[in-house]
Symmetry: C2
Subunit: 284 residues, 2 copies
């Protein structure tokens, strides 16, 4: 496995692979790799001939007051995970490589970035789309892999790639969960043992949502009330939002129909955790 620290060196590595006819896969990450990331890498290894993992804690997607400074950066452990997972090249640039001067150019996806996390993290998605556009231009992958755990991010990046005719495919992989249902996240490590137990209520609330939809309940307000009740059973949970939206437009819906995204964001101690489920309710 090669480790490239510069744009020139990753371009050289990928260029060589491409000239040999290899299909290039990219898994963009902020490091602190866990089994969620590993599932993305496994999907990439399965689909592609040359897999690049980028590890870059992107400053422009952190909102002031967030955990940019203390975000974990265990590079050696990450490299080991990549090596074991069959990655061909890691791209681990410095912030100066990616943002050598003042960044004046931003890629922004309107509308889809406004609800859900967009309301609480202004500028976050603009940072995500801009750095992904940069990474896509640097690595030029045939496929880039993202996780369904960040549902809004997945939808926003897919839309960016389509709107700007980016010559790559975006593949979204299922959320990986702990045995108690908690979605795996680099930020879970911020939790105390007590908070970690409470965190399981996030997925419990989403399961409640699925059960109610399965039972034919179509009133989203009713469902959200029950989801909030479950979250409120965990004393350390501070609800940021509980939303039931159209899975394509991310707009709130009054009644369950078609493809629905139920999404939750909470604060638990120092961590901000998000999770979601997709439900195809058909016509109800």
């Amino acid at each position: 496995m090669e480790v490239a620290k510069t744009i020139e060196s990753i371009r050289r590595l990928v260029g060589t692979a491409r000239s040999r006819g290899k299909k290039i896969g990219l898994v963009p990450t902020m490091g602190a790799l866990h089994i969620g990331h590993i599932s993305l890498i496994e999907a990439a290894v399965k689909e592609c001939d040359f897999v690049v993992v980028s590890i870059f804690v992107n400053p422009t997607q952190f909102v002031p007051g967030e955990d940019l400074e203390k975000y974990p950066r265990p590079l050696e452990a990450d490299l080991k995970i990549c090596r074991n997972a069959g990655v061909d090249a890691v791209f681990a640039p410095t912030p100066e490589q990616i943002y050598p001067g003042e960044n004046l150019t931003w890629v922004n996806v309107e509308k889809l970035t406004e609800p859900l996390c967009g309301q609480f993290r202004p500028g976050h998605f603009r940072g995500v789309t801009t750095v992904c556009a940069k990474l896509f231009n640097i690595v030029a992958p045939d496929i880039a892999f993202f996780g369904q755990k960040d549902a809004q991010q997945a939808i926003v990046i897919k839309r960016m790639a389509a709107d700007l005719n980016m010559p790559l495919e975006i593949v979204i992989c299922p959320t990986v969960r702990e045995p108690d249902g908690l979605a795996v996240s680099s930020r879970n490590q911020y939790l105390t043992a007590e908070q970690r137990k409470d965190a399981a209520y996030v997925y419990k609330s989403l399961q409640k949502c699925r059960q109610m939809i399965d039972a034919g309940i179509a009133d989203t307000r009713k469902i959200a009330v029950e989801m909030r009740k479950i979250l409120q059973q965990a004393s350390s949970i501070k609800i940021e939002y509980v939303s039931i939206v159209d899975a394509e437009t991310l707009q709130n819906i009054d009644r369950i129909a078609g493809k629905v995204l139920a999404a939750v964001a909470v604060g638990i101690g120092p961590a901000r955790l998000i999770d979601n489920i997709l439900v195809d309710a058909g016509k109800q």
Copy 2:
């Protein structure tokens, strides 16, 4: 010469050329080709092995009230010019090809798009950068060619390509002028004979600027006053701006020093005309 109407077909043509090791050049245009465009094509033919000219009147760079509807679209004449100039493929998509649905994703370059034309055409540069990002992603050229006549556009596109790590080179070619100095533009054809005569005063005002700088005059306010006097000699000219700015930042400067851009925008009858000169004044 091939004429591609769809994204798929131009990608196929370019893909074949690239697989043969050819260097790809792109000249993005809105059609209504003239000797200015031909000079860009000639530069592309000289530098590249496979030259694509895109012809697309991009609706998103027209501000409400501008000439989108009446902008000339002489496709057959344009194709003949391309054929004669040695173009390998023309990409002439419909608006529906480029904007198949609501476009939510925008590429925006901050700061550089605010002064000069940015003040008078809000949203114009966002349309330009977005469509260029799309065209670059569709054609994937090694080099894209633009004209110095649109000086702010050239600087904005260069900055976009650099900030987003676009894997291509941007080449800026000199402004082509009529014998009386008027910069060649598709919009010159809107002028009556009388207005056409007046239009020569735009370049006269820029020549005055260069003469004053050469004579050691450093007070930009003084220079601008003289430039305006020349423009006011032409009765049909309505001055939009006369600006002397730093050629990199596009910020107004009080005193001439280093690389300077003198830029003029005027209305003449139904036409909005712009022109500029670059002067390297060194340290003064």
